[in-house]
Symmetry: C2
Subunit: 308 residues, 2 copies
């Protein structure tokens, strides 16, 4: 069973979409990553922070899935990170209405002893200095470090972001952010610029339009599953990252060929995430459903042209 | 060798993109369809109209590729259809600056005798009444009728458009037009609404985001090849249609399984079209290049997850 370290937010989200709205519900990058990764044979630990307003039922969600929460710090008297957002009608863009950092403002991550030799590290969206802190605590160089980030850090912490990008094997980033980071419109060229920054692999996430995996001169594409209804995109990118790293950690094979499979597994997990609010769909997701939908991904993409 | 009837415009285009502009060059739906289809083993005839300002060198382009132009009417003293457009910076949208219908205004199509028994009919973008006229001239019901249309006809000729849609097997349409035609945002639901209108198959073209093929409850996805540079998207949808129908006519196999291959062949041809202005790239395209890029499509999409 491969070890996986997950760093990222554990949060309360309040979400409004054209289909409805929620009060404060469970959210955060590390939450979605952990839930998705728990569908694979991995020994995962979440490194994050919450306040003592974080309910025990939410903590149980992690422990019920054998996710190590010994490094999920609970700050006495502290309040959990809170994000409130409203999606536009096409669900492709959103406005952030509230961001309360709360306990996240002074967060200093500590990787649990038992996971300092993890083969795979998933650095979910957080301040790049926190992401760097996790890398530095690893006892030996992990086989694979994957970093997810967003435009907020490009705008507000570009220097430490570039420092941590240097250290990672895989950067996952969405299309607009890839363009912002590289000043290149073409995603092919953007990926090449990112290679020059350090990573050997680049995953560019295009939401409902799928994800591209770049490696040297090669490229692999995983579509998003065409769904009748996308209900709430919150956490889809993190769920993708959880499926991606969960699969890679469980197989121990980090080749480009196997990374293609990982991108499909990530897309598969993300296709469930968007069907309900927040983590709702992931929480009740069964192994048979995951397996059945993998068949759909195969039918969606595999063809039979004989090549000469 | 399967027979293919192609109806659509043969035109002069003047194009402006962020990368440059052209004077009047060869364009038109039937032109792009014919050029793409000529890469397959088909006996194709173009049904269209031009003025006597249409140069012999352009006519030779068709005949050099064994495309039957006996039904490409040349109107004495008439002027060829002219379209001028300017693309926005992201190439995903464009403004039409000039549309001169000219000889197209009074066009009455005549399918050549030798092609009235064609197995495959490709109704390229034109007035739906003209498209219907072609169907009615076929000696027997073709095995496969494919129709391409655009929002202009939904706005200006919805009733005859709905009449011709009833008669076709495959509708190819872009994503925004599918939404307009059905009033459904989800492309999955839009495809189901289109099934109710008549077609058994629906291809929804998403430009740089690929194409979806729907049949009953099944769906297949062909990505667009990620390119370093897209130079001019003019004709890409028609080139896709030409590769799609050219392949189907050449194989004589119109099953859903083979239609998946056809969608890949269509995407493959379209990936060349966008690399230069207008038909430039298609005119010098070699068989080896087409074959080589098919390998890239396979590498782009094929993965190796064992399913349980």
């Amino acid at each position: 069973m491969g070890k996986l370290v997950i760093v990222g937010t554990v949060a309360f989200d309040a979400i409004e979409t054209p289909f409805g709205k929620t009060d404060k519900i469970l959210g955060g990058a590390a939450t979605f990553i952990g839930l998705a990764a728990s569908h694979f044979n991995v020994d995962a630990a979440v490194v994050s922070v919450v306040g003592d307003d974080f309910p025990k039922e939410y903590l149980d969600i992690f422990t019920d899935r054998d996710i190590d929460v010994s490094a999920l710090e609970v700050v006495p008297g502290g309040k959990t990170f809170f994000w409130k957002g409203k999606y536009h009608n096409d669900l492709n863009s959103r406005d952030t209405l509230v961001t309360e950092l709360n306990v996240l403002a002074d967060f200093s991550p500590v990787v649990p002893e038992g996971h300092r030799d993890a083969e795979v590290v998933m650095l979910g969206n957080l301040h790049p200095s926190v992401q760097m802190g996790v890398i530095q605590q690893m006892a030996k160089k992990p086989k694979l470090v994957v970093l997810d980030t967003m435009n907020f850090w490009m705008d507000n912490a570009l220097e430490p972001l570039m420092e941590v990008i240097k250290k990672v094997d895989v950067l996952t980033i969405n299309d607009e952010e890839a363009r912002q980071l590289t000043n290149e419109y073409s995603l092919v060229t953007a990926a090449q610029r990112i290679f020059e920054m350090g990573p050997k692999y680049v995953v560019i996430k295009k939401g409902e339009h799928g994800a591209l995996l770049f490696f040297k001169d090669e490229v692999f594409f995983a579509p998003a599953l065409p769904l009748k209804e996308v209900f709430d995109p919150t956490g889809a990118g993190d769920t993708f990252a959880g499926g991606f790293t969960g699969y890679l950690a469980s197989t121990g094979n980090h080749s480009f060929e196997n990374m293609k499979n990982a991108v499909i597994h990530g897309s598969n997990m993300a296709s469930f995430c968007v069907e309900r609010f927040g983590t709702e769909r992931l929480l009740e997701l069964k192994r048979e459903e995951v397996s059945r939908r993998l068949h759909q991904f195969k039918a969606l993409t595999q063809f039979d042209i004989e090549l000469k």
